[in-house]
């Protein structure tokens, strides 16, 4: 066989010009093909990397049907303070998002913030001392007016007894006005009243600080339908006359209950139920991130396992580690705001912990949760789209009991509480289907971390890759076809001579095939290597300009972007070698096929037929 190969090469090299031309053209064609394939493979890698690194989430917000103008008279300043208040006809349920054609990868969900009462845990800074030192602004006081009067203007009262609150002492004279009450009562100087007051930040006039009602003596309880349950004491109830037997009478029941639950906010831990932490904006943006442990598994989400993620601070303050148990007695449920909006470094949500009957809420579910992960990041900054202070995250399905008697607040879908994830690059399709639903008062805002922009770049690259591959394939086939004709079909006489000399078909096949195969091997190997390396360099260069997500500029996000870039660059280094091998193999296979067919065609004829002399 060695002689056959040598002879084959010898004869091929005697056609130097054609052999060199074949080699050069095959180099070029292989290079183009390989360049295109390199782009294609790297685009595929990038797309896969992006798919796992990028998520497209939609934040859903029901828009107000109208905005009401609220005017509140501030007697201290002698002016009206104007508030806008959104009016909603009714709250859309999450069902509006479950329409045909909506292919969610996660969600949609409207997250509920629960309040878990744990007096034994240290939640707020300094064990609540910040609140005690004046950051909490509520008071339960017994006061006596200095003069009779309707409390629609600033009235001075003397503090007779401080039931709750810090910074006010008995005997102090404070200023009070019932701003929000359109029909305020008259209070009398010869009577004593118990009042639930708040420090009126905004009502400082010439006379100094004023207090106003609006505290938690009134229930905020809401039904499962999202409507507030009327309080049995009516609206704008914030004080009561204290008679001699008041504290022993049924009349004081609500006030006694208020004193019982007064400390609740200092020990209330925000707990958020979710079906995917990626739907929570702080985790999506990287503002919050798992620093140890793990996210919940799909099964844990699905089965509603009793597992939780806690913050680094909460873990540190309370000596908790991965695998520890955290008991979460869920007391109230907030269907309106995110924990980020209500639970801050300075204190928890200003919920009333009394129901519409004036009774304290009772824990509706009390379970032990196992800590699977600890997250870090910024929290408790009173940002609606941020994390709540010491927020604990649990699978939404882990809350099994009904919370319908413990809802302290309800509201429409908000971007901070309602979200879903769809496949990257399908925003337009989704929105086309959504717009067909004809729901005008629900706004969906998408965040894809810049995927759409990257996708456009990738699509351009894909197009270039397709063109290069097409040109490369056509050129490879043309070169292989043309030169197979020259080196094989036009060598029929040579085959005939060899056959007439006694060469077997196998030997004649080898005689023609070896030379051209070696040229193909050389041309495709060098061309494909060059093309793939070039693709790697070009794609690496192009990739660097588009990796960084400009949507969110926090440090964690940048860190992720850098990680992704490193990973892709590693891929760029590995890809050319493998791609070149694959491409060269493909071209060799095509070349072997084409030339093999040509040789077989030659060999199908008997030598005399090839010489054309049979008819003699």
């Amino acid at each position: 066989m060695g002689m056959i190969i040598k002879n084959s090469i010898r004869q091929l090299l005697r056609m130097k010009g054609r052999a060199v031309l074949f080699l050069m053209l095959l180099l070029l064609a292989s290079g183009l093909f390989s360049l295109g394939r390199g782009f294609q493979i790297m685009n595929q890698e990038k797309t896969e990397a992006y798919e796992s690194s990028f998520q497209t989430v939609g934040l859903v917000e029901q828009k107000a049907s109208a905005v009401e103008r609220i005017e509140v008279w501030n007697p201290a300043k002698g002016e009206y303070r104007i508030y806008p208040r959104n009016i909603f006809g009714s709250y859309h349920s999450l069902d509006v998002l479950n329409f045909e054609g909506a292919n969610y990868q996660s969600g949609p969900e409207k997250r509920v913030t629960y309040g878990a009462y744990r007096p034994d845990y240290e939640v707020y800074t300094n064990g609540g001392n910040d609140m005690k030192s004046g950051l909490r602004l509520g008071f339960v006081l017994e006061v006596t007016p200095l003069k009779d009067g309707v409390i629609d203007h600033t009235m001075e009262v003397r503090v007779e007894k401080v039931w709750k609150g810090y910074g006010i002492r008995e005997g102090d004279i404070i200023r009070v006005c019932d701003y929000y009450n359109p029909e305020p009562d008259t209070i009398y100087a010869d009577k004593r009243y118990v009042m639930d007051l708040y420090d009126g930040y905004d009502y400082q006039g010439e006379g100094g600080l004023q207090f106003h009602p609006g505290g938690t003596i009134q229930s905020m309880q809401t039904g499962a339908d999202g409507k507030k349950i009327p309080d049995e004491v009516g609206e704008d109830y914030f004080y009561e006359e204290v008679t001699a037997d008041f504290w022993e009478s049924e009349k004081s029941r609500r006030w006694r209950n208020l004193l019982k639950v007064w400390e609740y906010p200092e020990h209330m831990i925000p707990v958020t139920g979710t079906s995917d932490i990626g739907l929570m904006i702080p985790f999506y943006t990287g503002e919050a991130y798992l620093s140890s442990g793990r996210d919940f598994t799909e099964e844990e989400y699905e089965q509603g396992e009793k597992v939780c993620l806690i913050s680094e601070l909460f873990a540190r303050k309370n000596g908790l580690e991965i695998g520890d148990q955290v008991r979460l007695p869920l007391l109230v449920a907030d269907y309106r705001y995110s924990a980020g909006r209500n639970f801050s470094l300075y204190g928890s949500a200003g919920y009333s912990y009394l129901n519409a009957k004036g009774e304290p809420y009772e824990v509706f579910e009390d379970s032990q949760y196992t800590v699977t992960g600890i997250y870090g990041g910024i929290a408790g900054m009173l940002e609606e789209y941020g994390m709540g202070y010491q927020e604990i995250i649990i699978p939404s399905r882990s809350v099994r009991n009904s919370d319908e008697d413990n809802i302290v607040s309800a509201g429409p879908m908000r971007g901070s509480t309602t979200s879903f994830q769809i496949e990257n690059g399908t925003i337009e399709e989704y929105m086309a289907e959504w717009n067909r639903q004809g729901i005008d008062d629900v706004e969906i805002t998408f965040y894809d971390k810049g995927y759409t922009e990257l996708e456009a770049n990738i699509n351009n690259m894909k197009q270039i890759a397709r063109i290069l591959i097409a040109v490369g394939v056509i050129m490879v086939l043309m070169v292989l076809g043309y030169f197979s004709w020259i080196f094989i079909l036009r060598q029929r006489e040579r085959t005939a001579i060899e056959r007439s000399l006694g060469f077997g078909k196998r030997h004649s096949f080898g005689s023609l095939f070896c030379g051209i195969f070696l040229l193909m091997l050389l041309g495709s190997a060098v061309g494909c290597s060059a093309g793939s390396c070039l693709a790697g360099k070009l794609a690496g260069g192009l990739g660097q300009t588009v990796y960084y997500d400009t949507t969110f500029g926090n440090s964690q996000r940048t860190m992720q972007a850098e990680t992704m870039q490193e990973r892709t660059e590693e891929g760029v280094l590995e890809t050319p070698f493998l791609a070149a091998l694959q491409n060269a193999f493909l071209i060799l296979a095509a070349g072997a096929g084409i030339s093999g067919v040509g040789i077989v065609l030659n060999l199908r004829q008997e030598p005399m037929q090839m010489f054309g002399s049979r008819k003699e």
Partner: protein
């Protein structure tokens, strides 16, 4: 000694329009060291019969025996490599090999070392009357007579006992014709080759020991 025999050999093939019976019931035998001519008009089936004798094709009917063994039972490629060589009117040299390489090829294929093959090729080329300078020339650089001598040298190089020549002088002038015929005669009579020449040239036929005539596929011995 009989070396080659045809018994009731017929050969037909199908063209697009008709079935052609190129060789019809031919029987004949060839002795070792004999110089034979098969003459006949164009289209009489001479070359087809030669290709059957060379094992380049298979008879439709009848049998060809080589030293008493049916060619149909033999490896026809091995037969051509070891026993029968063919010389063509159009020489059919490898155009990309030199004269020497053309002659060396069958020897190398038979696993004779390149060095030995080169030595023998030189000798053979000299034997067929070619100057040493021809050794390194490619066929297109040679005259027709020179090419035919190279072809004969190549046939001899294979080391067989039978040389089948299809119009070996058909493309040659009279001077070269004489030389080639003389060479073939010498190979038959001095070296013991059985040389069978297809020709329609009476001058060539006259030089041979035996003459067969083919007509319409049939064969008769004239001399």
């Amino acid at each position: 000694m009989e070396i080659l025999r045809a018994e009731h050999v017929s050969y037909s093939y199908q063209t697009k329009y008709q079935k052609v019976e190129a060789v019809r019931d031919v029987s004949c035998s060839f002795e070792q060291g004999g110089f034979y001519a098969i003459v006949g008009e164009s289209g009489s089936g001479k070359s087809t019969f030669l290709s059957l004798l060379a094992g380049l094709d298979v008879p439709s009917e009848g049998t060809i025996y080589v030293q008493g063994q049916s060619l149909g039972d033999m490896d026809r490629d091995a037969y051509r490599l070891n026993q029968a060589s063919v010389v063509y009117q159009s020489f059919h040299l490898f155009p990309l090999l030199t004269a020497q390489e053309n002659v060396m090829l069958p020897m190398e294929f038979k696993k004779i070392s390149r060095k030995e093959a080169a030595r023998r090729a030189k000798q053979l080329l000299e034997r067929v009357g070619l100057e040493p300078r021809i050794c390194r020339q490619f066929p297109k650089m040679m005259s027709g007579g020179e090419q035919q001598r190279v072809a004969i040298a190549r046939a001899v190089a294979a080391g067989g006992e039978i040389i089948l020549a299809d119009e070996p002088t058909g493309n040659l002038d009279s001077e070269n014709e004489k030389k080639i015929v003389g060479l073939l005669k010498e190979l038959a009579h001095e070296d013991g080759y059985t040389v069978i020449v297809i020709t329609h040239n009476s001058n060539v036929a006259e030089e041979t020991d035996h003459v067969f005539r083919m007509k319409d596929g049939g064969l008769e011995q004239v001399r």
